[in-house]
Symmetry: C2
Subunit: 521 residues, 2 copies
């Protein structure tokens, strides 16, 4: 590749459309005020959109590619060849080797995880976020963006009942839970020592600290406890009722046991929408107990926060307004692209525990100019303008339509439960609370029953076979020690007929696995 006058290697001619040295000099790698860079932005945006759309034409949720073959094909892609590859060639390759072997989140048979299709308007805003590249740590890297995020988190806090509250956006629910639990830990640290744990490290009292959560709380609660130095062992697993909600009697017993053992519940974590059963803990009674024992109340509403959009469903969240901190994932029931999570607090001053002075970012002199540097609220430094996509997605869709989508998902889950119940070979394992249905395959009424171990193996095999074939992606977990299958309804495009088709696919896969399993026995 020859060099142009400015010493930069040329781009492939096809990318700039002209070949004179002047144009190469101005090759639009970046967006500037130059109209040629605008034309290039339009071109790359369209080419990317077309590649994505072309890879979406498949009529099943996944190609069913073999992992080893897929890995081998991807291994042949040189991440950084010496000379740039023309965009059309590059996108055609990624379309065929990568995008065509993703899971298609808008396919109704993609129903394993809390992993939603995304509003097109919000997804397009990702382009604006990427091109403008505001960094939310300091005002001088993101003036309007800082104010938009501040405005949005206040609205989110108010929408979830924390009127006058605020917060900060994070990259995911785990990061939001980490921040919420850090605030709880810092409050306990401030009680135990003159300084918080932030400066001096965990005080010796930390070995008596406990985080009280139910057995159905998200994995990330334990993982965050490990990160925070408290260890996974400090998180309790309070029993739940049949619907997966924390059992208040068990909670009281746990709190009493902690008290008599001289242990301190620094935080109670309530879950509004558990991962498997979608259950919502009884928030108001839990808040009462948190207040009584001086524990921080963190509500993990990663899933459930979306219910607040619907006046009909919002009462399910009653009591959330009593939280000290709330995790809300807008990349779940709000249909935003990952990452779009928020950690909300009833008072922005509570975030002061993460504030660190910095000579280059967080300068006290800036405050005279009325300048807000969000690094003082966040565990991150450089941070994307994710608030933009959320604002675009919400404003373009409107609350009524958002609410109707969430209502449809709850209705779909209820309908799916009835369909499972009515199915000869499927067994409903819990009544759905919100948007998930947990069930399993077992032999139909006319068949010989099978032992639970074999039913477990059949369900594992059925789920894996469906994924391998690409025909359906269903969730798999364990409930009361037994393998369970799970449908997660986060796709508002799904219809009841899709659910019926999905259940038939599962039943068929179960039958096939059982036949194979019984043959092997």
């Amino acid at each position: 590749m020859s060099a142009s006058r400015n010493g930069l290697p040329k781009r492939p001619a096809a990318d700039v459309g002209e070949t004179t040295a002047e144009v190469v000099e101005a090759a639009p790698d970046f967006l500037t005020a130059d109209p040629r860079s605008h034309a290039q932005l339009r071109r790359v945006a369209l080419a990317t959109a077309d590649a994505v759309a072309a890879a979406r034409l498949q009529d099943q949720p996944f190609s069913g590619a073999d992992p080893a073959q897929l890995a081998a094909a991807i291994a042949t892609i040189d991440p950084c060849p010496d000379d740039g590859v023309a965009l059309d060639e590059l996108l055609a390759q990624l379309r065929d080797a990568v995008l065509a072997h993703g899971v298609h989140v808008s396919d109704p048979r993609c129903a394993a995880h809390l992993h939603c299709p995304t509003l097109l308007t919000a997804a397009a805003a990702e382009l604006a976020i990427g091109v403008t590249n505001q960094s939310l740590d300091s005002y001088d890297q993101a003036p309007a963006a800082t104010l938009v995020e501040d405005h949005l988190v206040r609205w989110l806090a108010a929408t979830l009942g924390l009127s006058g509250g605020s917060g900060v956006l994070t990259s995911g629910g785990t990061a939001s839970n980490l921040l919420g639990l850090l605030l709880a830990r810092e409050r306990a640290g401030a009680r135990a020592a003159a300084h918080g744990a932030g400066v001096g490290g965990l005080p010796p009292e930390h070995v008596r600290w406990r985080i009280v959560a139910s057995a159905a709380a998200h994995d990330s609660i334990r993982r965050c406890a490990a990160v925070l130095g408290l260890g996974t062992g400090c998180v309790t697993a309070v029993a739940t009722d049949d619907a997966g909600r924390i059992d208040l009697g068990a909670l009281d017993a746990e709190l009493a046991a902690l008290a008599s053992a001289g242990l301190e519940p620094i935080a109670i974590v309530a879950t509004a929408g558990t991962t498997d059963l979608g259950a919502i803990d009884p928030l108001a009674p839990i808040a009462e107990r948190a207040r009584a024992c001086g524990a921080w109340l963190h509500v993990d509403a990663a899933l459930g926060s979306g219910l607040a959009l619907s006046p009909r469903l919002a009462p399910l969240l009653d009591g959330i307004e009593l939280a000290d901190s709330i995790t809300a994932d807008l990349h779940k029931l709000w249909f935003m692209p990952i990452g779009a999570s928020a950690l909300l607090v009833r008072d922005v001053a509570l975030l002061a525990a993460v504030h660190h002075h910095s000579d280059y970012l967080n300068r006290p002199e800036d405050e005279v100019d009325g300048v807000l540097n969000l690094v003082g609220r966040s565990l991150d430094t450089s941070r994307r303008f994710d608030a933009l996509k959320i604002l675009v997605g919400l404003r373009s869709t409107g609350r009524l339509r958002m609410a109707a989508m969430v209502e449809r998902l709850v209705a779909l889950a209820a309908g799916a439960a009835r369909a499972v119940d009515a199915h000869d070979e499927l067994e409903l394992l819990a009544e759905p609370s919100t948007v998930t249905v947990v069930f399993r395959w077992r032999p139909g009424g006319g068949e010989a029953p099978l032992p639970d171990d074999l039913i477990d193996a059949v369900n594992v095999a059925a789920q894996r076979a469906l994924l391998r074939s690409g025909r359906a992606i269903v969730g798999r977990t364990r409930l009361h020690g037994r393998v369970a299958l799970k449908l997660t309804f986060v796709n508002p495009l799904a219809r009841e007929s899709d659910v019926g088709e999905l259940l038939d696919l599962v039943a068929e896969a179960g039958r096939a696995a059982a036949r194979a399993g019984v043959a092997v026995r």
Copy 2:
């Protein structure tokens, strides 16, 4: 707003272009195999690109809007009106109220932070990431994407000298540093107790643990130590030389002092590219010391990793191949949109310390299918397919061109230092090491000298006045206790003439502030 047959409120007719109930039923909120949703994706992508480009026409890096007025204008935007707003109207509003009041990262007078313009191809890939919404925690949410990230982090590790190494992508350098330091803490925990700190929490020995870093290490090292329960107080501030590199004599003295005090250096953090001076610590000699005292070696190459692209500059990173873990931010000298960071390790097995078993994500039975669930490497759960934009950006640009851009930035900084030196009113405070120049305004040779306190105040006022006017965004920090200004060269479009213009703007602002300051005295 009336409801369509499916019970969802209608979208504004302008968004779908037709008004029959059938079309409303199929209103393309999401991308499906339906060609109408493809058309909608193209439309929203182009409209978004046009809004971004129109907001970029300004000929200065920032509009200079007053923060209070900007906040008041943004406060009038309802984040979620009942009815959706037509996209064109919505984007026009955001263009004028938000995007036009961002900082323009491709303007050469935007030179405050490590906050780069982004490759258009990579920024467009953000659209693909958002629409396809793969979640990198489990293979069944991101089959090809999982393998692409795995491929990319191996390449990155090898490029930075960790051949056979691997890693995981994170949302930012702070998150990468957190993971690196967590691994160091877990190794120390495993030595101190039968289990790591992950399960049992920090053992009592933690009060003797120290993280050894220079005084110029990034803020996030201390902030991460606080998150990890070790406290900011556990991080040392070893003295640096004039160029901002860790002083090896001071390091040896610190290590000796720790040993004689019975304290344990669990990690040494070397910085490859400090925030203010861009300095690169002497990596190989530090690695020798880390090995000798059994400390984990973490290299924070958030800034410096981009030097590896250039055979001419890569030797500056000599010794990085001896690291246990490396932070590399691809949203800095690699010109990718935020967030694009990597935590790289010399052996993927080192990441096992963050692995937690999960019934629903990380299932041992999956391994028979050759399935990789990246949640076992990460502190996150839901996680974006950021690897895609990195791959697109690198492949479309090519290594030679990437390297030439980085080389240009280093040359620009060197040239700027000479121009500062030659300027009557500007004083160079340190020789540039990589891409930053730290200097200050002071009266020219013919003027009466001013006391340092007043010079500090003048430099603060000059930087703030430039930001307020929107004419230039320069960095401000402190060096040896005095206020310093900083230019950070991360924009490959900048030319020497731009640097000259920027320095003239600073000198003019300094003069104006000095006149005002002297008048007030």
